[in-house]
Amino acid sequence: MSNRTILLSLFGIILFSCSSPKPETREIRISLATEPPTLDWNLATDNVSYQILNQLMEGLTQFDDQMNVIPAAAKSWEITDDGKTYLFHLDSNYRWSDGKKVIAEDFRYSWLRLLRPETAAEYAYFLFDIVGARDFNSGRLREENQVGIEVIDPFTLKVSLTKPVVFFPAIATFMVTYPLRKDLFEKYGDNWTDPENMVTCGPYLLKEWWHEYRLKLEKNPLYGGSPRPAIDGITVFLVNEPATVLALYEKGELDIASPPPVALPRYKNHPDMVHAPKLRGYYYGFNTTKKPFDDVRIRQALAMALDKSEIPNILKGGEQPVNSWIPPGMFGFDESIGLKFDPEKGRELLEEAGITPHPNPLPQGERGYFVESPLPRGEGVRGRVKISEITLTFNSDPVNKKIAEWAQGQWKKNLGIDVRLDNQEWKSYLSLLRNDPPGLFRLGWGADYPDPDNFMNLFTSASGNNHTQWKNSEFDRLIGEAATQSDGVKRKGLYDEAQKILLERKTVILPLFAATQNILVREKLRPFPIIPMDFVYYKRVKFKKL
């Protein structure tokens, strides 16, 4: 009898699980890898939060499909005073979801909150080009009227900058600059992002937030921008495991998914596969103060010994190998800049640096083959440094691991040197980079705004993210000049020159490839409005009736 009960109940389960026909609604189900750390847009810093906030809210400006800055809540803007003053004219069609109009004061309130030290917003520095902003954030300036954010009338916002930053409208697309309602924030306090309290002005509204599991978004009927969304509802599941995401897509539980790298070859010719570039660079950096990387020839030799044309075969996601740093798809990209694959030259440079290959190569398969080199005796550092003591440090991740193991093989094959690998867990790695950057390390950089300044500024002397310890006044000057240069040709010239210093003459970093986006999208949602930033404007997704 017990057997029969089991069988019956199993059968019931099967029936139950099969009997969920989905009614034809304009709703889609997508996934994100983690819980958004916060939906408080002043405090948010990460991409997951951005992907949600970007649907709920809109700032002064937005990107079009070609990454040009176009109007959003600001219908137009004027630049005066040699580019140091911006006047944003707001679009009076924009309304909050409780019916009130979006006014300039909402922006001023939000931006001042972003800058206030008590807010402790990590991305406050996005507005540091505004007059007084930096001092206000550090508490040196208490008077908020002295910060260069002024309300001229309810629909005009005046922003005064310390220097003519040409990409300021692009910064105004970013989530931390979205407007905020003072009355609501003061009413609900820290709970203002709860679905029942949250008032937004973007194409979607937050209906449900089941932490760590799912968010439900619904079309905002009061949305005043364009285009009006075609999809009525979006359910976002928070699924951390890439293999699970793929399984869910295949079982029809998700409409969009990015497959794990190892599955990519299987989907190469799949009709659902959508490829697009991503403004994200991937590089190995040298700590130029550490032996043996204080010798530029060794850095150059390592850079020349990688046959990057093998990368697409290994990563299989359509990654584009690059020698230059400004990524393809961004203004200033020039693929002719950077050191090319040239193992001969690399070996010569090593010899020049005093490193001679081991006279008797050890038998094949034997490990520990290394060369010992008397390095140039500069600045009081003497003695011999074993090339074999080069360690490549990176953070654990399947892609990083694969690339590191590949590079290790390349350096061994092309230069005859053994490089050790050291993988670190993410936070340990960050702490290491900050306190004592390893000689050879991996990092990536994704665009916050699609301007080369965002990529090149990284390696200036003042940048907190420049872990190479490299300081070059010529480079700094070029980048500073380019940030305020409005003439396109001259600007590109400045960046070309700076990239040549960074990559060829000084070889401070070794760019490897430009990342790509590979996602599976159901036919009803194609063509998919994918842009090279790491997010999608779901209001632009068309919904095809099949």
């Binding site: 599955a263 654990s396 399947p398 590949w406 690998l421 867990e425």
Partner: protein
């Protein structure tokens, strides 16, 4: 029948140890040698178990992984045995307040989730073989200590110990010569079951992304690498899992056999 199975298992383990020490017997390829022409190849005459994403021979990687996984498991178990016996026998033999105090400490360690310990120690000690070994052996002795203490308490009251005391033998001598040997039976079994725990804990660490530094790999890291590719390249997960299963199965069969003999 049971004897035969235990025998086969022992033979398998011995063969595996030999192959792990001398992988050249089975495969000419190095564990980190890359064959760019044969990425993700399925099993063939050249690569018996196929290759991974970088075109490395999976058989060679499994055999080298055996050094890490088995080495880690055996050493961690040995460490657990040493400290567990030391702690447990002292506690049980001393009795009274000392025993109570030592047991309190065990209770505290017992109340911390294993995984927390493994991860924190793993992060603290680093991603090398030794770091991982110590992280994994940091908790194993707790269990051993409990069992040893229990056994010692049981035998302490037995007539043969009392007579030894009557003969005027010193306490320490009784402990070493008469009490600890009594615990070998349950101890062996506990230790044999400890080995699988270590292997599995190591694979969980790999799943979290805290496995060994490449290009070295353990069975746990290999299985985890294969896990995402299950539906596309099943050989990547099949062979490492098979080895994990075979080894744990063997140790358990031998353990059970020993238990039944008692």
């Amino acid at each position: 029948m049971k004897n035969k199975l235990a025998l086969i298992c022992s033979l398998f383990l011995i063969t595996l140890f030999l192959c792990a020490l001398f992988p050249q017997i089975l495969t000419p390829h190095g564990f980190d040698q890359q064959f760019p022409q044969a990425l993700l190849a399925t099993p063939s005459a050249q690569f018996w178990f196929g290759t991974d994403e970088l075109g490395r021979d999976l058989l060679a990687r499994i055999l080298f992984g055996a050094r890490v996984s088995l080495g880690c498991a055996l050493l961690a178990t040995a460490i657990a045995a040493f400290f567990g016996v030391l702690y447990g026998s002292l506690s049980g033999f001393a009795g009274g307040k000392t025993d109570q105090f030592l047991m309190r400490i065990l209770d505290i360690l017992y109340s911390i989730p294993d995984l927390l310990f493994y991860i924190l120690l793993g992060l603290f000690l680093g991603r090398t073989f030794w770091g991982m070994l110590f992280a994994l052996s940091a908790l194993g002795w707790v269990n051993v200590a409990r069992i040893v203490r229990g056994e010692i308490l049981k035998y302490k009251e037995m007539p043969f110990i009392e007579s030894a005391e009557a003969l005027g033998l010193g306490g320490f001598r009784i402990l070493i010569r008469h009490l600890i040997p009594q615990t070998t039976g349950p101890l062996t079994v506990t230790l044999l079951f400890q080995i699988p725990t270590v292997i599995l804990a190591e694979s969980t660490l790999s799943f979290i992304g805290l496995g060994l530094t490449p290009p070295y790999s353990s069975w746990g890291t290999l299985a985890h690498e294969g896990y995402q590719a299950l539906r596309f390249y099943p050989h990547l997960i099949l062979f490492p899992s098979l080895f994990i299963f075979a080894v744990i199965f063997s140790f358990q069969t031998i353990g059970n056999r020993l238990m039944e003999k008692k």
